[in-house]
């Protein structure tokens, strides 16, 4: 507050300011004009209510607060528009009542409210901060007389830091209507925070950090359980989900098997060749009669193979799919999947290949749950094509396509 002191007058004389008291606002206004004209700079008038005409009398320049408020308002308006645009048409776009993702009319109310809100914040906090508030300690508060400044008396104070402070007392004493002229002492009390306040503040501050700490630990947890269940909401369902336990039954399963000797609609398994890939228990050598192995079926097979098989077996079936390569890269213990082009596999009947997909083999699980019957056949049909392609000669290529291959080989 008191950065400089007038030359020749140290702070040691203990004077902070000279204060004159008035009992009428018009006396104060006249006095202010005199102080202003005398060229003082670090001084102020204190009144219990705003006395009009005093701003001119003191020579106060208009405040820039309106511009701050304007900036706040523009921020609120633009921010409101951006928030709504971003939230409803970029971050979280949904079709609502067949309406467009973004339309100004629906956004006007919130833009308006945010304009007002941010303008009001600017006005309120701008007013406080620009006026140096909050400021809880002020040397003037140490003067008993000054307490009436908020009730019915009017004051002028000229601070020591004013370059012309030496003339201050004389000037104030000579003013008409000045009831009392006093010196305000410098605040000599310790600026140390009282112990009670310090420790309370520290405790509250630490406690306030606790939620953040809890959030921090929560986000690092490896537990799959939710942290708190204050409200059960719909997290615990009073129903049996698929693959869960139910003590009511001897087998402990919640899902029931069909009654023995019954077949559900569409579940009749009367085609051994198609369903199991065998004919009288022996692996079938051909596609089931209900399936035609044409180009479309091959294309489907390629699709199914790419989706389900290639991740391990690789797109060419040699056993170096993405998962395999990644596992090797990471140095994990990973059994390399079978190379489908090796002879042991090539000699298998197509029915056996189908059986492998359906039932699984060694480390490979059954894919019956993921791949439908027709698609399983399509996949093994494609595997056959891969096997043939791995050992193909130019003679296997249709005559019309050979030229292309030769050209490619030159490159």
């Amino acid at each position: 507050m008191n950065p400089e002191h007038a030359p020749g007058q140290g702070p040691e004389d203990g004077v902070h300011a000279v204060v004159a008291e008035f009992s009428h606002p018009h006396d104060l206004a006249a006095a202010c004009e005199k102080v202003r004209d005398a060229g003082f700079t670090r001084w102020d008038a204190y009144t219990p209510f705003p006395v009009h005409g005093l701003d001119d009398a003191m020579g106060i320049k208009p405040t820039i607060l309106p511009w701050v408020v304007l900036a706040g308002g523009i921020t609120g308006c633009g921010g409101g528009l951006l928030l709504q645009y971003w939230a409803n048409s970029i971050a979280y776009p949904f079709i609502i009542s067949g309406k467009p993702m973004f339309s100004i009319p629906a956004n006007v109310p919130i833009m308006f409210e945010l304009t007002i809100l941010l303008s009001a914040f600017a006005a309120f906090f701008g007013n406080l901060l620009m006026g140096g508030l909050p400021r809880f300690s002020n040397p003037l508060f140490r003067m008993p007389r000054f307490r009436r400044a908020t009730s019915d008396r009017f004051f002028i104070s000229i601070e020591r830091s004013d370059p012309r402070f030496a003339e201050a007392k004389a000037l104030l004493s000579g003013l008409a209507g000045a009831v009392v002229v006093e010196e305000c002492p410098v605040d000599t009390s310790s600026d140390e925070i009282p112990r009670v306040v310090r420790y309370t503040g520290l405790t509250v501050g630490l406690l306030a950090l606790a939620p953040f700490f809890l959030f921090f630990t929560a986000r690092n947890t490896t537990s799959t359980e939710p942290q708190f269940h204050v409200v059960p909401d719909m997290d615990f369902q009073p129903k049996y989900k698929a693959q869960t336990e139910n003590d009511m039954f001897a087998d402990g399963r919640a899902m029931r098997l069909p009654v023995a000797g019954t077949v559900a609609r569409g579940e009749l398994r009367d085609d051994e060749h198609l369903q199991d890939g065998t004919i009288d228990g022996v692996w079938a050598k051909d596609l089931p009669p209900s399936i035609t192995g044409d180009a479309a079926f091959m294309a489907r097979g390629r699709e199914v193979f790419a989706i389900y098989c290639s991740v391990c077996h690789g797109l060419d079936g040699r056993g170096d799919g993405l998962v395999t390569r990644r596992a090797q890269q990471k140095g994990l213990s990973w059994v390399r999947p079978t190379d489908m082009l090796q002879d042991t596999v090539r000699v298998q009947d197509i029915g056996q290949l189908y059986g492998t997909v359906k039932n699984g083999i060694r480390n490979m699980p059954s894919y019956a749950a993921q791949i439908g019957v027709r698609d399983r056949w399509a996949a093994v049909y494609y595997v056959r094509a891969l096997q043939r392609a791995g050992y193909a000669s130019l003679d296997d290529v249709p005559p019309g396509e050979r030229a292309k291959l030769e050209k490619k080989g030159d490159d």
């Binding site: 009428h24 606002p25 018009h26 202010c32 102020d44 008038a45 204190y46 009144t47 219990p48 209510f49 705003p50 006395v51 009009h52 005409g53 005093l54 701003d55 001119d56 003191m58 106060i60 607060l65 309106p66 408020v69 939230a87 409803n88 971050a91 979280y92 949904f94 609502i96 009542s97 309406k99 629906a106 956004n107 109310p109 919130i110 409210e113 945010l114 007002i116 809100l117 303008s119 009001a120 914040f121 006005a123 309120f124 701008g126 007013n127 620009m130 006026g131 508030l133 909050p134 400021r135 809880f136 002020n138 003037l140 307490r147 009436r148 400044a149 908020t150 009730s151 019915d152 409200v231």
Partner: protein, 479 residues
Amino acid sequence: MTSIDPTLVEERPGDRPPILDGPNDYASVTEDVCRIAEPPVTQTPKGWLMGFALASTILLVLGAMVAHLFLTGVGVWGNRSPVFWGWPIVNFVFWVGIGHAGTLISAILFLFRQKWRTSINRFAEAMTIFAVMCAGLFPGIHVGRVWLAYYLFPIPNQMQMWPNFRSPLLWDVFAVGTYATVSLLFWYMGMIPDLATLRDRATSKVRRLAYGIFSLGWTGSNRQWHRFERAYLILAALATPLVLSVHSVVSFDFAVAQLPGWHTTIFPPYFVAGAIFSGFAMVVTLMVPARQFFGLKRIVTVRHLEAMNKVILATGTMVGYAYGMEFFISWYGGNPAETFTFVNRAFGPYAWAYWIMVSCNVLAPQVFWFKKARTSIPIMMVVAIFVNIGMWFERFVITVTSLSRDFVPSSWGYFSPTWVDVLTLIGSFGLFFTLFLLFCRFLPTVAMAEVKAAMPEPGHGHAERPPAGGAEPAPEGGR
């Protein structure tokens, strides 16, 4: 920068009674207002203690009802299909409406330089804050899953979900939230100089500390006043469109829906007029006993009350016009569903509510055409209470009767409240009056600085005042 004389009253002297009665000076105003807040806790007036005990008991009832609601579910109320919104929303709109007078008196009358407002504005603003708190309670607790009410705010979250900004309810969140915030800032900012007065008069250490913290170190320096007045003016200018927008947005909750009886363009102005109407009635209801009890008759004079009664008459008549216009449009618009809704309101199963509304809101205030009624304390008290009741019923009629019978007759149903509905409404008054009594006891109930600024300077008649710049239309004036 400004030059309007503080003591220059707009009206010519002798035209109207002065703003304050009897001999007053700055010190007496300070004394009159501060002595309400200053007695130590041990010397609290008995009347206040009894009132506070009653209000806080009712507040406890509210707490019990809210706890019961949270633990059991919205089913404790009478809400049903098709009346999915029942009393909670009626209460919400009722309280928001009441919360309009304070900011209106503070902001709009300030901009219009109605100096008589200075005696009552603090009071009315406090009423606004507490009414908006009551109002904010209801939409908060009326949702089915209260613990997820934060979904309504655009808070970034791990699920990357955002609210739907097309919904009028979301507009409502922003409008009521902004209104509550700005009203609070406006109220608090106006109170800072008066809190400083209390700080400087405080005798006990606790009071000095408490008022010291909340007055933020205000000294009354003219450099502070200069900026303060600017900020106050700006806040008033911001609050004026805000106060008009809030009830407009609340009315959008209804008007944007396609329900017959809700879907009308007249709603925003009609709601705003109704809000001012109910708000002023509530100010009169509270001001009359308060000025008696706290000895503020010299500051809040019959002239203030009469002015408010005039506003009640004007807005009550506007509301009556809106009732008539709704009927006219429902017929003129030719929408059969709409026509039926209004016939049903007046002559259907809820006719009793409709006619209570019309008699309380349109007929009762008409007595204020007579000066005798406007200046009679008992008459204005009765009319004000009638208006409060009538305005609650207006919201009931709009919300419940429209919902009870809409498009498909098979879904029609009759709403009846439960005891929880009734006790929650009563309990909200407990919240309101508890806060209000605390305000009356511990805070400056009258804006002392503003009253002083509007007073003729002691020892100086009007004629002496220099007309310095009095004609200059500087907006900073009027304080």
